[in-house]
Amino acid sequence: MDKELLSVAVVGHANTGKTSLIRTLLRDASFGEIADKAGTTRHVEGAEIRVDDNHNLVIYDTPGLEDSIHLLSVIDEQSISEHDDGIDRLLSFIKNENSYPELSQELKVLKALLSNDIIFYVIDIREPILGKYRDELKILSYAAKPIIPVLNFIEAGSDNMRNWQTQLARLNLHAHVSFDSVVFRFSDELKIYQKMQTLLAHREQQLEALIEQRKVQWQQREKAAQQLIARLLVEAAACRFKADNNEQSIAKISNQLQVTIRDLETSALNQLLALYQFKQQDIDQYDLPIQQGQWELDLFSSDNLQEFGIKVTSNFVKGAGIGVAVDLVAAGLTLGAAAVAGGVMGVLWGVKQRYYDEIHAKVKGHRYLCADDLTLHILWARQLSLLIALQQRGHASVTKLSLAQINSEKTTLPKPWNQWLKSARQHPQWLDSNNSEQPPLKAKKQLLIKQISESLAAISNDTSSKTN
C-alpha cells in the first residue's frame, strides 16, 4: 500500500540555507550540495522523512529565486482574464516556459510551489529587506499555498530580526519560525512542525505523530549517548593492570593501561558519532577535533587541562598511576553479611572471589594500576563537551568547532563523582579485558551506569535551559 505523503517545498533566495535546513531535518549531511555562493542547488531534489509505517513527509529542495524582479514583471505581464487569479498567472507563465530560458531555474520553483502542500520560505535575516525579497513573497502568494517563513541565521542576524518580523507581518505572514543552520536547537525544529500543524489543520494528526516521533527519537538518542558516556567512565575506572612493584614494570604497565583506556574512549567516540549519524567525511568537513575516529589531542596530554579549564591543585601526574589497596573493611562487611545468611562454603567462596586477586597481589608484592582521578576527569569533560557539540550541531554546519567554546558544566564534577569511581574500581569484572576471576554478573554495573546517566541528563537539562 502506498504511503500517504505530506509534501513541503523549501524555497527562498539564493544562499539563504535551504539545503542546510533540509540536511538538518533529515540528519543527513550528504543531502544536496552546500556552498557559500548563489546557484549551488540546480535540481529540485526531494527526500522523505519517515513519520510512521503509513505516512511520510517529503521535502523538496529548490534552486534559489535569484531573479525575482524580472520573474514578477514577466508573471504580471501574462495576459489573463479578469476573473483569473494568481495560480492562473503562474500556470500561464509555466505554459510559456520556452519563451523565458533565462528563468528556467525560477520555473522549477514555481512548479514546486504549485505541486506541494506547504511552502517553507527560507530567509537569511542577516540580509537587509530588499525589494526583490518582497517580489519573491508576492510570487509565493500567487500559489495560494500555506507559507511558513523560516528565519535562518538567527544568531548572527539577531539585530535584523525585528525588521524582518515587521515586514512579514505587513505581508500577513505571522506564523514564522526561527532556525539556525550553524547553532542547531531541537526546539526550533519542533516549532517548524508545530507551525505546519497550525496551517494544515486537516493533517494535524499526521503532524502530531511526526512531532511525537521526532521527540522520542531525540530523547532516545540523548539517553543512549548518556549511557555510552556513563559506561565509558565506569569501564575506564574499572580498568586495572597488575604490575610488579618496581619502576620498570610500573612504566610498562602504565603504558598498557593508557592504550586500553584510549581504546575505550575511541570506541565510545565512534559510537557517539554513529549515534548522531555523523560519518567520517562529515567529521573532516566540520573540522571537529577528531581525526580518523580518534581525538586529535591525546587523552593523557596535559594540554587537556587548559582545553577543558580543569584546575589542578596537586602536580599533574603523567597518565595513570594509583595502586588500589585491598579494602579490608569492605571485606569484613561482606564476610559478616554472608555469615548471617549462613553457608560457610558460600562465605568462603564469595570472599575468595572478591578479594583473592588483591590479597594475592599484596602477598606477592604486586600492585594494581588504574586510571587516576584527573585522567577520568578529562575523559568525562571531553565526552560531555562532545555530546553538547553533537546536539547543537546541525548536519549543515560548516564552521569550525572548538570544544573549548562550548559552554558546559564540564569543569564541575557531579557530587557523587568520588563514589562512582570508588565503586567502579572495586569491580574489575565490569571490564571484560581485565579477565577478572570475580563473578561476571553486571547488575550493579548497570545500576551505576543508570545513576551516572541520570546525572548526565540533569546536566543536559541545565545546559538546555541556559541555552534557551
Binding site: 544562499n15 544536496g32 540546480r42 535540481h43 526531494g46 522523512i49 531573479d67 525589494g131 561476571p440
Partner: protein, 486 residues
C-alpha cells in the same frame, strides 16, 4: 523459531557485533514495522554469524547441568534414608530424627529463600551465580562440543549466563533451580523411605533430650492434623506416648501402630516438604515461561538506536524530481577566476554610475566616489521601480560606460547578472565593476566573494581590468580620471 528465541538470537548478534551494528545486511525494511524489520535482519545476520547453534547449545548445557544435579540430589536424598535413618543393623526409626533430617532443613531453606527473594537487597548472591557458572563451565568442558568452534563462544556464553542469571531472570531462575533440586532430594528420600518401609519391618520410637513429652505430643498433633482430616490412619496421642518409651504391644496392635507411624512419616514428607517444593517449582517454571514470553529487547540501547537508523532511517535516500538540463550553466567550481582586479583603474569619462543593493554605509562611500568623478545623482537599485528608473536614466544619458557599484560581501546572483545585461543597452557599452567593502581584500571570506564577483562579471564581459575594489579603511587604489574615452 519462536519470538523468544528470535529475540535471544538478536541479542546474540548484538553481542557479536559489539558496539555498532553492521549495515551489510541490506533488505527492504521500509515496508516492515520495526519488530518485523529486526526479525528479518536477525535472520540475514544469522546466516553470517551462526549464533543460534551456540545459543541452542548453551540452552541444552544449562538444562543438562541442572538435570545432572537433579539426579545427584535424587541419589543423595535416597541414600540419606539408608545412611541416616534406617540400615540393616537397626530395626527402629527415631521419628523425631526423621523429621529433623528431612523437614526442618527444608523449612529453614525455604525461610532463607523467602528473605532472599522478597527482599532483594538483603543479600547479594554473586557467589551462588558464580558457583553455577563454574558448574556450567565444568560440564561444558566435559561435553566439549561447540566450545572450540565459534569465535564468539566466550562472549555468547557470558551473555547467556547474564541473561539467565542476571537482573531480568536471575531471581526466578535461581528460585526454580533451588526448588527443583530440593524436590529431587525430597523425592529421592520419599521414594527410598517408601521402599525401605515396604521391604523392612521397623518400629517407630521418638527420642529427644531437649523436647518434653508434651512438646513432642503437640508437634505430632500438628503433623497429624491434615492426615486426620483425610482419614489417613496416623498414630493417636497414646501411641505417641508409648513410642517414647518403646512399650511392647501385642502383635496385631504393633503392626497397626507401625503402619500409622509410617503413614505419618511418608505423609509428612510428601505434604510438608515435597509438595510445597513441587508447587513452588511449577510456579517458577511458569514464571520463567512468562519471562521468556515477555522478554523484550532494550531498544533504548545505543546499539539498537543505531540499528533503527539503519533499518528505518529518518530520511530516505534523496531523489531528483526536476533535474537541471542546463548543466553547462551550472557553477563550475573548478574554473574559478583568479581574484585579480585592476588596482589602478582609470575612471572613464562619459560614464553613468549605478549602485546595486547598497546599504547606507556603502551608498555614502559610492556617493563620495561618484561626486569626485561625475556630476550625476547615483540611483541605488533596490526593486523593480528603481531598476526601471536607473535603466531609463541610463538610456537618456547615452553614456558609453556604466559603472556598477556593488557591495563585495553580497552574493552575486542571476538577478544581478540579468540587470547588468540590461545595462548593456547598446552594443558598445563597457561595464565597470566597483566593489565596495569595509575590510581589506585579504580577509579570507572577502577574497572568496571577490572571486565570485569576478567570475560572474566575466559573463557580462567585464574583464579584470574593468574591476576594482574600494575598501573604506584602506587607501583607495590609484584611480585617475581619464581625459578621453577609451
Amino acid at each position: 523459531m519462536d519470538l523468544y528465541q528470535n529475540r535471544l538470537l538478536t541479542e546474540g548478534i548484538r553481542i557479536i557485533e559489539k558496539s555498532s551494528p553492521s549495515n551489510r545486511f541490506n533488505a527492504d525494511y521500509s515496508t516492515l514495522n520495526l519488530s518485523d524489520a529486526l526479525s528479518k535482519r536477525t535472520q540475514l545476520a544469522e546466516l553470517r554469524y551462526q549464533a543460534s547453534s551456540v545459543l541452542r547449545h548453551l540452552q541444552q548445557l544449562l538444562t543438562f547441568s541442572i538435570g545432572l544435579m537433579c539426579v545427584f540430589f535424587l541419589i543423595v536424598g535416597a541414600s540419606s534414608v539408608s545412611q541416616f535413618l534406617v540400615n540393616e543393623s537397626s530395626t527402629q526409626i527415631n521419628f523425631f530424627w526423621a523429621i529433623v533430617l528431612f523437614i526442618a532443613p527444608n523449612i529453614l531453606s525455604l525461610i532463607i529463600w523467602c528473605i532472599v527473594y522478597f527482599r532483594r537487597h538483603v543479600l547479594s548472591l554473586p557467589w551462588l551465580a558464580n558457583l553455577i557458572l563454574s558448574m556450567l563451565t565444568l560440564v561444558d568442558k566435559l561435553q566439549h562440543k561447540v566450545s572450540t568452534k565459534h569465535i564468539h563462544y566466550i562472549d555468547l556464553f557470558q551473555f547467556y549466563f547474564e541473561h539467565r542469571f542476571g537482573a531480568y531472570m536471575g531471581r526466578v531462575q535461581l528460585s526454580l533451580i533451588s526448588h527443583l533440586w530440593w524436590s529431587s532430594y525430597l523425592l529421592g528420600a520419599t521414594l527410598s523411605l517408601f521402599l525401605v518401609l515396604a521391604t523392612h519391618q521397623v518400629d517407630f520410637i521418638w527420642q529427644t533430650t531437649i523436647l518434653s513429652e508434651d512438646t513432642f505430643l503437640k508437634l505430632t498433633q500438628w503433623l497429624t492434623y491434615l492426615p486426620n482430616l483425610l482419614a489417613i490412619n496416623v498414630p493417636t496421642p497414646s501411641d505417641v506416648s508409648h513410642a517414647s518409651i518403646g512399650t511392647v504391644n501385642p502383635l496385631q496392635v504393633a503392626q497397626e501402630i507401625r503402619i500409622s507411624w509410617s503413614n505419618l512419616l511418608i505423609f509428612s514428607l510428601i505434604v510438608y516438604a515435597l509438595l510445597p517444593r513441587i508447587i513452588l517449582m511449577l510456579v517458577f517454571y511458569q514464571s520463567i515461561k512468562q519471562k521468556k514470553k515477555n522478554f523484550q529487547l532494550d531498544l533504548s540501547d545505543a546499539y539498537y538506536i543505531q540499528l533503527k537508523n539503519i533499518l528505518h532511517p529518518i530520511g530516505k535516500a534523496s531523489f531528483i524530481s526536476d533535474a537541471d538540463l542546463h548543466q553547462g550553466n551550472a557553477n563550475n567550481h573548478q574554473n574559478k577566476e583568479s581574484s585579480q582586479y585592476n588596482q589602478s583603474l582609470v575612471m572613464p569619462k562619459n560614464a553613468y554610475p549605478i549602485a546595486i543593493e547598497l546599504n547606507q554605509r556603502n551608498l555614502q562611500q559610492a556617493d563620495k566616489h561618484v561626486l569626485k568623478h561625475y556630476s550625476v545623482d547615483l540611483i541605488n537599485v533596490l526593486d523593480n521601480i528603481s531598476q526601471q528608473a536607473a535603466l531609463s536614466a541610463l538610456k537618456s544619458s547615452a553614456a558609453a560606460h556604466v559603472i556598477l557599484y556593488v557591495d563585495v560581501k553580497r552574493v552575486p546572483d542571476r538577478g544581478w547578472l540579468s540587470f547588468a545585461k540590461k545595462c548593456q543597452y547598446k552594443s558598445n557599452v563597457q561595464l565597470y565593476l566597483l566593489l565596495l567593502a569595509d575590510h581589506p581584500v585579504n580577509k579570507a571570506k572577502i577574497a572568496s566573494r571577490l572571486e565570485d564577483w569576478i567570475e560572474i562579471a566575466a559573463k557580462v564581459n567585464i574583464s579584470s581590468q574593468y574591476i576594482t575594489y574600494l575598501g573604506q579603511k584602506m587607501t583607495p587604489p590609484n584611480i585617475h580620471q581619464e581625459v578621453e574615452n577609451g
